[in-house]
Symmetry: C2
Subunit: 361 residues, 2 copies
């Protein structure tokens, strides 16, 4: 048996107000006069205080990201071309010295993806998969402004491509530096805060109940889950800090574990019906009593406590064609189902099972 050689984010700053240290971090990368940095920032911050605090200078480039839809390979490629055209005009085509992603899971994934595409030729769709990336990325920095996805810690960047929703998984994908400033996640709209936090809660439940888990993943997953409970059940006064750590540790846990039934179903909801990952997970998890009885029970307590109401009956008007596409998408995620059922998962994961689950949503 071979164990994964887990590449982790090598440098981290944690603390309230630590966003202000981004300037110092970038100063270490700037060596020549025409060196420039690309900031990819969720456009929600454009006219907010954070938008004014981006330490752009000289020939730096700030791009406001449209994250209405989850990241598509076409958007990644367009952003990469935008940077390259700018660089061609301004600095004889040289690459930026750093790419900084600022925002939620989508913005963080776009930061990673553009950093990779600036040094790897061809469109991003050709790199969806495992370890297809050939060259190290441009130095990249991730700064979460909403917590739960674990994108700040992970070795993937989830992209919707022409024929699949799948990440560019590689060691080069991992951020070189993250800045975890709990100040930044204050003021996130309640629903979004909850759905994104539940991404973390749910992947811990899936990982801890899965067949792939080992004690490395268990230690991180259990602590992440404890922190989620402090945040969502106990309203701990340090909830911003704790949620930020829960997200990071949940991401670390995935090194030697895997998500499960909920993420498989949720991928189908996203790919066919366009649901965002966070709410898609919640809708799917709410029908998984048979898979994760204790986890679903506590999840409903959390929903009740925070007055969250999920949409219901979302699949009842779905065409048969779309239903089948959704079932195909969900059942195609072999590692997730193997994590649930072990190697003989194919006997268990029948179209009937998936159709039945989707029909309950």
């Amino acid at each position: 048996m071979k164990f994964r050689n887990f590449k982790t984010v090598p440098k981290m700053i944690f603390g309230r107000g630590s966003f202000d240290q981004l300037d110092d971090v970038l100063a270490d990368e700037r060596t020549e006069l025409d060196d420039f940095v690309v900031f990819l920032v969720d456009e929600v911050h454009k006219d907010k205080p954070l938008g004014q605090r981006i330490p752009a200078t000289g020939k730096d480039m700030v791009i406001w990201l449209d994250v209405t839809d989850e990241p598509k390979t076409t958007y990644v490629d367009a952003l990469t071309v935008e940077v390259q055209e700018y660089a061609a005009k301004q600095v004889n085509g040289k690459n930026p010295v750093s790419v900084v992603g600022i925002g939620g899971g989508s913005a963080l994934d776009l930061g990673k993806a553009v950093a990779l595409m600036l040094t790897n030729e061809g469109g991003s769709a050709s790199y969806q998969g495992w370890d297809l990336i050939k060259n190290p990325a441009v130095h990249h920095v991730g700064i979460p402004t909403i917590s739960g996805t674990g994108a700040e810690a992970s070795r993937t960047t989830v992209l919707t491509g022409p024929d699949k929703k799948l990440g560019m998984n590689s060691d080069y994908t991992v951020y070189d530096q993250i800045i975890m400033d709990p100040d930044l996640i204050q003021g996130v709209p309640k629903d979004q805060w909850f759905y994104t936090g539940m991404d973390c809660y749910i992947h811990n439940i899936e990982a801890l109940n899965g067949t792939y888990i080992n004690e490395f993943a268990r230690a991180f997953g259990e602590k992440s889950l404890d922190l989620c409970n402090e945040v969502f059940l106990q309203d701990h006064p340090d909830s911003d800090e704790k949620l930020m750590m829960a997200s990071y540790m949940g991401g670390q846990s995935i090194a030697y574990s895997q998500v499960g039934a909920c993420h498989a179903l949720s991928y189908g909801l996203s790919y066919v019906m366009g649901y965002h990952h966070g709410i898609g997970n919640c809708i799917a998890f709410d029908v998984l009593d048979d898979f994760y009885p204790e986890g679903v029970k506590v999840f409903r307590e959390m929903m009740a406590k925070h007055n969250i109401t999920l949409p219901k009956g979302i699949t009842k008007d779905l065409s048969e064609e779309d239903m089948e596409k959704m079932i195909r998408t969900a059942s195609g995620l072999a590692p997730l189902w193997e994590n649930v059922y072990g190697p003989s998962w194919q006997e268990k994961v029948t179209p009937e099972l998936l159709r039945n689950l989707y029909s309950k949503m």
Copy 2:
């Protein structure tokens, strides 16, 4: 306020039997025919199965470490010269492509120290302190065979020099790769297993009760403490795995926290009386009821459960000169005492207090 930019081990392999992947890890570093690797291995493994499994090949060098005493700067310098003389004869003086430290805290610290000294001129004593190292180290790999010190995760290498016991603290000190193979920590003699594990338990207690702590350090410290409880109170069947994770997470916790009164006193015991770090900590912790009442209570339960008896009356025949030297050593550790008492620690940490504590040991 500035927060530390925490450099962490960027690559980790965890799993039973993962030691066998060391060969693959080193293969990535070997590019030229005369490239060589230096293995620094605790000599306890010399005639044991592990000694036969060292993947040395070609011009590689295996050095069996004498860790009777804790690492001294003179020993680090001698090892460095040994490597350099070998390299001069064998490969025109070029540096090894990797230094692999295999063993407990002492061997892991020696691995880090030699990797640093091969690229930084002058003796190691001149680098005892914070961020004095100028050049990146040779690639270095750490493989613990006893768990608790957190040396596999930390940015220091604790050395006894001509005038102080102090680490070479720097980002370059951190291992480039660690391999955590729980198989390797089976069969450690019971006392040593306990004392080294208590190093982890105690620094968690000190960190969690200290003034320096933040939520990053708390999350890691709390989980590490939970794991210690599973190992030392509950005899969990996966204790090897859990202790290995406790040690790693305890090391991570120190990023934004600090040890406290016990480590300060223990440093004095080591420096003046030659006690090893693990047992020194236990002797010191056992008199710290006033500082850590709950922690000391549980510690005594752990001792009772594992039939551990600490030496008593160890300072009663100590000369006045040595007692004063020990008090000076302990009181000189400003950050540790500031972590205990806050900025006004100097009013509290009197020679009488320290003498009184040492007299109880």
